[in-house]
Amino acid sequence: MGEGIVLKYNVPGDDFTRAGEASGAVKSQLKQMQLSPDVVRRVAIAMYEGEINMVIHAEGGTIEVCITPEYIDMVLKDKGPGIPDVEKAMQAGYSTAPDNVRNLGFGAGMGLPNMKKYTDEMKVETTLGVGTTVTMRIYI
């Protein structure tokens, strides 16, 4: 992470009512900084998908956002079960989300693909039984 404004959030596990709070807060912050609507939207989408993933699969986690004059970095860390096959998880339509999650309108297998689509750089580091860290960058 470079120099810049750093924002930190806790994402509570298994609480769909609060998912979106962190991305909403970041979105407001970026709008106040008068960044382009396209950048704000991409950050909001990528972060919300990440939040939802943490709630569904990892019992929550932490998000650190770093805003610099050139780019915005988002680091999403969880202590969940890890992703057995990242390549598969990156395929649109592939999902391991349970039925109760699908009933809420999630679990379409679009989370990670959306995150990749809306960011300029994305890295997934995962260890089974230890957790997953997703790092994303969007250039301003």
Partner: protein, 111 residues
């Protein structure tokens, strides 16, 4: 057409009056899968869906959807009503299916 005009002229039940009633409604979008809506719902659009939970509201807020129209007589659950009010999101309700609801709104905003 502005959000307030859609509220007045659509004849649909108003579930929550948002704080964006002077915003323009530019298009209509139909989707029930929130991850798809997250990526594709247009800013300033009327989003027709049958999903009335808090996450629908979160997606609408993040995508800057102009208003949500619940089709097929679906309702917001209690938590979603509270969230709509807190986030100032306009929500209408229609008894018609998704396609008919979308068609009506499309005709209205393009009249």
């Amino acid at each position: 057409m502005k959000v307030k005009d859609v509220i007045e002229q659509s004849g649909l039940e108003l579930v929550n009056m948002g704080d964006n009633v002077d915003d323009e409604v530019g298009s209509v979008f139909c989707c029930d899968l929130l991850s798809v809506a997250m990526g594709k719902a247009p800013a300033g659009g009327a989003w027709i869906t049958v999903m009335g939970n808090v996450n629908t509201l979160a997606v609408a807020a993040l995508t800057e959807t102009a208003l949500i129209v619940l089709a097929e007589g679906s309702d917001l659950d209690d938590a979603a009503v509270a969230k709509a009010s807190q986030q100032g999101i306009t929500v209408l309700k229609s008894e018609k299916p998704v396609y008919e609801t979308a068609k009506d709104i499309d005709i209205l905003i393009n009249a």
